[in-house]
């Protein structure tokens, strides 16, 4: 599927995984896709977000506070009361089993991800599929960051929409900014 992604779209997905890994979230969710898109300087998606005052730093803060994928976060504070340094345990686990090893989502299907890869949430996967379908419908050559962002905005309740809402940005305003920057 990623063969049909534009370079920027692929970079956004890679960035999304990186964001999830940095936050020690075990899945790449819609909220991480949003972060990945906002990090793509110069892309229509990133520019549209920036136009609404949504820089990566602000969004990242919101995602970190989000309960959705953070729910399964290990309780560092509680472990500390037992004298366990979670950072040290995580470091050792990741050195042995790859990044994200300790936080990787449990209920993916098929082979467990290894070596620094973490799975997408079903919603995030759906977003990628919707983006592909949108590109096909418009007879666009590649799946771009625009399709990805539209995919996020077009789905019912997802974590990305929640983050945007809490940051005071509505999907319609974002669509308008995107429209200004899309090739006619």
């Amino acid at each position: 599927m990623f063969e049909r992604f534009s370079v920027e779209a692929r970079q956004a997905v890679v960035a999304a995984q990186e964001e999830a890994l940095l936050l020690h979230h075990g899945f790449i969710g819609c909220e991480h896709l949003l972060l990945g898109l906002s990090a793509g300087t110069g892309t229509p998606a990133a520019a549209s977000l920036a136009a609404l005052g949504l820089d990566t730093g602000t969004l990242r803060q919101r995602v970190a506070e989000l309960a959705v994928t953070g729910d399964r976060a290990l309780d560092a504070g509680a472990l500390a009361t037992l004298g366990i340094d979670l950072d040290a345990v995580r470091q050792a686990a990741e050195a042995r089993f790859g990044r994200g090893a300790l936080d990787r989502g449990k209920d993916w299907r098929g082979r467990p991800c290894t070596g620094g890869h973490i799975p997408f949430t079903p919603r995030a996967k759906k977003t990628l599929e919707v983006a592909a379908k949108t590109a096909a419908k418009r007879h666009d050559h590649e799946i771009t960051t625009v399709h990805l962002l539209l995919g996020l905005l077009g789905q019912g309740d997802n974590a990305a929409l929640l983050v945007l809402k809490e940051a005071g940005a509505g999907p319609d305003a974002l669509r308008q900014e995107l429209a200004k920057r899309m090739a006619v």
């Binding site: 290990l74 309780d75 509680a78 472990l79 500390a80 009361t81 037992l82 004298g83 366990i84 979670l86 345990v89 686990a93 042995r96 089993f97 090893a101 300790l102 936080d103 449990k106 098929g110 082979r111 467990p112």
Partner: protein, 68 residues
């Protein structure tokens, strides 16, 4: 610290710590079991190390590691 958390008056902190430790244990167990299977360990060998029956180890982990 273990003593403190375990013997404090309010069980909330202690229980929260137990829960966190259990979650951590589960994840470490999964990582190690996957690793053992990749290295060709049998369920019996894994179970022996974990101190559980072969059936218990298989029931808990087999579906997840299917394909390794």
């Amino acid at each position: 610290m273990l003593a403190e958390a375990a013997s404090g008056r309010d069980p909330a902190q202690g229980l929260r710590a137990v829960r966190a430790l259990r979650e951590l244990t589960e994840r470490l167990e999964a990582l190690q079991v996957d690793s053992a299977r990749r290295q060709g360990w049998s369920w019996q060998e894994i179970a022996a190390q974990l101190g559980v029956s072969r059936q218990a180890a298989h029931k808990k982990h087999a579906r997840r590691v299917r394909g390794i």
